[in-house]
Each structure stands twice: as C-alpha cells, then as structure tokens.
Point group: C2
Chain length 102, copies 2
C-alpha cells in the first residue's frame, strides 16, 4: 500500500486492488492533484474513502461542510452526493483507500 | 481510525464503520490477541483486510504460507478459506481495516 510511492505524478494514480460484482477497492495516490475548477464527481456507486497518508480536503455540492482529511480520517459518500477534491498535499504523496459499492 | 486506541483489551475490539446489504466495513483493534488453539475462521463472506498499524501474522488451513503483516500489508481471504490469527503485536495496538462482502 505504501510501497513505490512516486513523489510527482502527472495525474492521480489509481490501482484496483479488488474487483467483484459487489465491490471495488482502489488505492489512489495524489501528489497535489485537485479536481478541475467547476468539476463535481457524481457517482452511481457509494464510496467509503479513508486517507492513509498525506492530507486532503473534500468539498460537497449539497452544503455539507468541507472535510479536511489526515491519515485515518474517513468519509462515506452516498451515490450521487456530488463532491470534489479541493486540495491534496503538494509536499508528500496522499494515499487514499476507496471502496465502491452499490 | 487511530483515535482512542486502548493499550490493553480483554478481547479484540470491533467497530462496524459501514454496513449495507452488500458490504460491511469494520475497524478491529488487537492488543496481542490471537485465535484460540485449533480455531479456524470459516466465513460465508469474502474478506479483504489491511493492517494499518501494529503487526500481525495470519495462517491458513489450506497450505497457503503464513502471512506476516505490517502497516499497509493487505490480503484477500475468499469465503471459506479457513484462516486464523497466529499472532498480533503485544507491544502496540494493531489496527485492522476489514471489508466483508458476498
């Protein structure tokens, strides 16, 4: 999970760890990436995501307060709750573990 | 995830973080606990589990080599693959994140 962490990436690095008809588990590494201006994720699946390393901030379109995330912080994002990555640490890789399910 | 970690527990501490018809996500804290002699977990669900803190060793009844686990190490345990917790660190809490699914 923490091996081979690049210090700089042109885009987020996504590695699918498990994929079955019922769930998908991904490791995502960010190195300062954030969602494009005006972009919102609007997903058909629910997502539970935890930051394991680094730091990040999520924001939500529905008025839910922005969430600053340090290692160990996790959040449940129901399907179609629009959200975006407002910020990830530029000074170290941020490692996310994301679980997607119906 | 890493808050309020007890240094000693009479038994493993299990906290269900998410439960839906399709998945269950648990935080499990061990403080030296291991499976009872001769006991094997034999689960109807598949389990993907990662150690986030501490150290542990799993073993398997089917001849799969034992797996020593440090933070970031993860393992997929298909339903009914018999396994047991051979050892968890007695010197610090071990934090597991376990995802169960059909």
């Amino acid at each position: 999970m923490f091996a081979d962490l690049p210090s700089e990436l042109p885009a987020e690095l996504v590695h699918v760890l498990v994929e079955t008809p019922s769930i998908r588990i991904e490791r995502i590494v960010s190195t300062g990436q954030r969602s494009d201006a005006g972009f919102w994720y609007d997903q058909n699946e629910s997502e539970w995501v935890i930051v394991l390393k680094g730091q990040a901030e999520l924001s939500f379109a529905d008025g839910t307060p922005p969430k600053s995330m340090c290692p160990g912080d996790h959040v449940m994002i129901p399907a179609h709750q629009k959200h975006r990555i407002e910020w990830t640490s530029p000074s170290e890789p941020t490692v996310w573990l994301a679980i997607f399910f119906p």
